[in-house]
Assembly symmetry: C2
Homo-oligomer: 351 residues x 2
């Protein structure tokens, strides 16, 4: 029998954080691609557009006028999926028809007053300001809601409807599905092994090195062993940190700098403004009295769809929607490619 | 406090089949859409293209020449994600790094010799031939593999790389993730309530009627209470059937006819060739001795992405990838719209 080689032989891998499997079939990269090609973003975005509701001084859908902000800017989403005061659907009359109340708040956070920048093109102090704003919105909304989901949809391919650099914050009265899975897995790992799952995981990856993309004094970036998206990464603090607000000033500065490096590598990979959805996961917030959430480790997931070039993405469709996630290159191959990329942004290098 | 109305008040719903929650926020349909617009498929597909590897008589990537088939045609995928003979990755040295062997087979099935038709434009006997081919490939591959996943990716938006009407069949040595979830849920429901989850569910929907789209002597089509995609549907037999090969000739004819009706409604909704990924789920196949799988009910899932028009889709991105699925119209609203649509295809009606 042949010796197993991950880059040649299909196999399945387990994601212990989200309790899921992925099928890894790296030999599939050899197949020709004749499917959908994404439109290349050629049009340049103006730095300021008075008609763009995210710009300083612009009027939003509800008639409010944005301040002339010069750093980050947080405001209520004008079309929120979660509102503070929805009535309860009441008890269900059948176990197969269960509905429950959902309350919450949806906010939008602009990263910068200019529409023509993205995080990797911002300065480290400007990114640090975004991190501070993330920490404080987590603290503020966490006083009322058990889950505060910060996420960024970047690029039209990821359903982003406005090029202005921004993210969203959706806080909810319930623990969303994926939060519940991560809660269960981290809880059970902690009770079996006496330490947080992701703390041990980061330590192992730092030893093995093959999936590491970047490391700094306080942070690690790696392509997880169980990555689903071609160039998916996991961003982890090196010490045990449960939530964004706990980060020290030094850890925040270091985070700003490693984020700039990672996102620069992403843009450099296919010399395009790399689309992705990303988000932070930290321990559920206060409400449950007595819970210390020591099993939780703060982390960010980056889920970028591009596979082969700026215009050819991975589709998570038929088999993936009906059976199981499937990937076409190994996490080790992806990490190696990301590691090899320069830390200077291609747009700046060419100047 | 206001009275709860599903179409106005956000809430969460539980999917007992896949053990997942969805956030329903129907009021979000009011927001304007300024994001990505999908390219409209205007180019017409030629009926026969000798260079298209799915056409009768064409040469495939591996040099084989297709027969001049005139019904369905099944062949091995030239770029399979699963192969019969991959070596085992061996035992893992750490609980956070688990990999397992995966063996299998990937096939492609053409539905029809012509490239310019789709299932709703085919005749009922032609669709019946597809159903027979599905049943027999399930039986054949099921003799060796515990899971046989039949799925169709339709449309470029769903990663389909060839317009010729076809589906895929991936059989695997392992139970994929979603199969495992459905196995667990149906097993536990059956042991608690003494009957199959989906049999009781179908019966309830037939009584309630508000999510029903189509019903026939042997089949039901409904928008499930927990639907995630805007116009997602579930296709169910009315009697207890575990797998495709068990379907009687009368049930197969009736299935062909209800599929034609459903897919015609889908195309009529936005007057476009409606993209979707669909697939069949039936009880795992033979290998496990003694297991009768009485808790399983055969069903097909249809996952179509379009939301507002032929060019505006629902994006399952940031919040959905990081936290929980979210939908913008209620399943009841979706069912009502589908119900109201004609059963004559808009392309034929206009002639
Ligand atoms: O096999 P195809 O049609 O080339 O590929 C398509 O379906 C596969 C199975 O869902 C996916 O893994 C691919 O991402 C998608 O493009
Ligand atoms: O809120 P936005 O940016 O308009 O919308 C985008 O992000 C949301 C949260 O992930 C998704 O539900 C939408 O489908 C997507 O288009």
């Amino acid at each position: 029998a042949a010796t197993f080689r991950a880059s040649e032989h299909q196999h399945i891998r387990y994601n212990p954080l989200q309790d899921e499997w992925v099928l890894v079939s790296a030999h599939r990269m050899k197949r020709p691609w004749q499917g959908q090609v994404e439109p290349q973003l050629l049009k340049t975005v103006p730095r300021h557009d008075p008609l763009n509701p995210l710009c300083p001084g612009a009027t939003r859908a509800n008639g409010e006028v944005n301040p002339h902000y010069d750093g980050t800017f947080l405001f209520d989403n004008d079309f929120p999926a979660l509102q503070p005061d929805a009535p309860d659907p009441g008890p269900s009359d059948h176990p197969l028809f269960r509905a429950e109340a959902a309350r919450g708040v949806c906010k939008v956070m602009c990263f910068h007053p200019w529409s023509d920048v993205t995080l990797p093109l911002m300065s480290v102090p400007e990114i640090r300001a975004v991190i501070d704003a993330w920490a404080s919105v987590t603290e503020d909304l966490g006083a009322q809601y058990p889950w505060v989901q910060i996420f960024e949809n970047k690029g039209a391919m990821m359903g982003c409807s406005n090029p202005h650099p921004h993210c969203q914050v959706w806080a909810s009265s319930f623990l969303p599905d994926i939060a519940q899975r991560e809660e269960r897995s981290q809880q059970s790992y902690h009770s079996q092994h006496g330490e947080p799952l992701l703390l041990e995981y980061g330590r192992q990856e730092l030893l093995k090195k093959e999936r590491l993309v970047l490391s700094s004094e306080h942070w690690l970036v790696l392509v997880p062993f169980w990555a689903v998206w071609p160039f998916q990464t996991l961003l982890l603090p090196r010490r045990h940190v449960r939530r964004l607000p706990e980060l020290t000033p030094a850890e925040r500065d270091d985070l700003a700098s490693i984020m700039k490096k990672l996102l620069t590598k992403y843009d450099n990979l296919f010399e395009t403004s790399f689309p992705y959805s990303m988000g932070w996961h930290g321990a559920p917030m206060g409400l449950k009295t007595g819970a210390t959430y020591d099993h939780w480790q703060l982390h960010a997931h980056y889920y970028p769809p591009l596979l082969r070039s700026a215009t050819v993405r991975k589709f998570m469709v038929g088999y993936e929607m009906l059976a199981q996630a499937q990937r076409d290159l190994t996490p080790e191959q992806a990490a190696e490619r990301l590691r090899a990329l320069p830390e200077v942004h291609y747009c700046l290098a060419k100047k």
